[in-house]
Amino acid sequence: MSAPSTAPAPWLPRLVVAPSFLLGFLFIYGLIAWNGYLSLSASRLLPNYEFVGLAQYVNLFENERFHVAMKNMAIFGVLFVGGAMALGLLLAVLLDQKIRAEGVLRTVYLYPMAISFIVTGTAWKWMLNPGLGLEHLMHRWGFESFTFGWLVDPDKALYCIVIAGIWQSAGFVMALFLAGLRGIDESIVKAAQVDGASLPRIYWRILIPSLRPVFFSTLMVVSHLAIKSFDLVMALTAGGPGYATDLPATFMYAMAFSRGQIGLGAAAATVMLATVAAIVVPYLYSELRARR
């Protein structure tokens, strides 16, 4: 700690941050605790603070729709995180080859990150709709037997969300990996080249392994995005057909705000919180320890 700490008025800095920290902590931890309490209450259409123990959690884990949401979460999580990481890494490595138009290409790969998931969902809903969308285009191009009904197929609609999600997030992963690659000392590459190693080998054996810290922080960021996914589902399928593409976030929203099941919604939110915390807290802990 080298920062000056013997200030003329040591109370002033604390006073300055006090209101926003107080409000911030109330917002984060106060509301988390309150939500936790709601999840142990008998609340249905209105909050009702009659204590019922873990009854809402028992209901939650016996709820067929929540099972669907959790199963979707697992499938979506693996495909979306895996896809975005793989595509992002590929684009970063390719862009790292002294490409003349790198700035333009980077802008193109990353622009989806600047727009709302609702816009993305609306656009992909139009492109993937079975009537006039992709299917129609392929018919016009002469592939008369081409059919593409994933968006309205309960078994396939989730994959549409995966595709649109990867489209939106791969550029973000690319930007993080590219920043990581640029941070590596060039003399390592030079030395390997002198030793006669081929470029793919250098990437595979030296550069990509040295991206490990970037890899983990990116994995963490993308995974928590996956767990929080809400907007894209709402815009693309609204959880449908039926509730075939429900994720925990849309399940929570439906229970808490349209089905009059506040206690159940609060329990679902707590489960989401626990999942994110399991991923993020170890990461934050190691980051802050490393900084000391």
């Binding site: 709302s116 006039l132 990116t218």
Partner: protein, 287 residues
């Protein structure tokens, strides 16, 4: 040795892959633009990628002022205005508070300040679903439920962790000697902030403003939960518009509406992409 021709063959393959992916990323934007310039007859007669045979802005006009979003048929205009009214104060306030917090956490540390920072940092990652139910009750008590004010307050509170993170990490990089020298000259807490730290903060101020603007403009979750009939933001308007079932689905109007919702952040991105990328990476990688 035939290393030269092999190199060019490699370059060709490299460029092909890069350009194919660029096409994949650009395709939805292209489809949105061409579809929004067609009327429904051209939409049916053409296909996703076909250029409009007779370009028209009718879909844009309808999306802006007369398309139906549920029962109302006033287009996206009122939603757009709500978003503008909400986003400006929310962005400015959360950025200003973040700058002050960051200044204290980096240059005026006190026992426990690092722990407080770590605890605040969790707010960047937590799933906001856990605050929705209690917060709607708090907003009700404060008398600002279903209003722009309530939505603004939520955005400011939810933005504090990231703005504090941005400024704190940036200010840690400013040499402590600057502050010490100023203190020897008799400058106080506020003088050092205004005269020395703030003038050096332009890049991080731009990064934070852009980050907050993008995040708040694009938010849907708070908008759909906390807004009332006449305070809904643009994302909620767009979602209602594209989910309003009418006898004929007007994809051209949907696409014009989507572009209207996307344009403000897209323009900022094109003009200041460098800062946007810096914000993205600052949020994920330690400073």
């Amino acid at each position: 040795m035939s290393s030269r021709p092999r190199m060019t063959w490699h370059r060709l393959l490299l460029w092909t892959v890069l350009l194919l992916w660029a096409a994949w990323f650009l395709a939805p934007l292209y489809v949105m633009v061409v579809t929004s310039l067609k009327d429904m007859q051209q939409v049916r007669e053409g296909h996703l990628l076909s250029l409009p045979t007779a370009p028209t802005l009718a879909a844009w006009a309808k999306a802006w002022s007369s398309a139906c979003t549920g029962v109302d048929c006033g287009g996206l205009k009122p939603f757009f205005m709500n978003s503008v009214l909400m986003v400006v104060p929310a962005v400015l306030l959360s950025t200003a508070l973040g700058a002050l917090n960051g200044y204290v956490l980096a240059k005026w540390r006190f026992p426990g300040s690092e722990t407080m920072f770590a605890m605040l940092l969790f707010g960047v990652f937590m799933p906001m679903q856990v605050v929705l139910l209690p917060m709607s009750q708090v907003l009700g008590w404060l008398g600002i439920a279903s209003s722009i004010w309530g939505l603004m307050l939520v955005h400011i509170l939810a933005g504090l962790p990231s703005t504090t993170l941005f400024f704190r990490n940036y200010y840690v990089g400013l040499p402590d000697e600057l502050v010490k020298a100023a203190m020897l000259d008799g400058a106080g807490f506020w003088q050092i902030f205004w005269r020395i730290v703030l003038p050096l903060s332009t890049p991080i101020v731009v990064v934070t403003l852009i980050w907050q603007f993008t995040a708040i403009w694009n938010d849907f979750l708070y908008g759909v939960v906390f807004s009332g009939a006449d305070s809904k933001p643009i994302t909620v308007g767009l979602n209602n518009l594209s989910n309003t079932s009418s006898s004929v689905k007007e994809y051209n109007v949907d696409m014009a509406a989507a572009l209207i919702a996307a344009l403000p952040t897209l323009i900022v991105y094109v003009l200041a992409g460098k800062y946007f990328v810096r914000g993205l990476t600052a949020g994920a990688v330690k400073g």
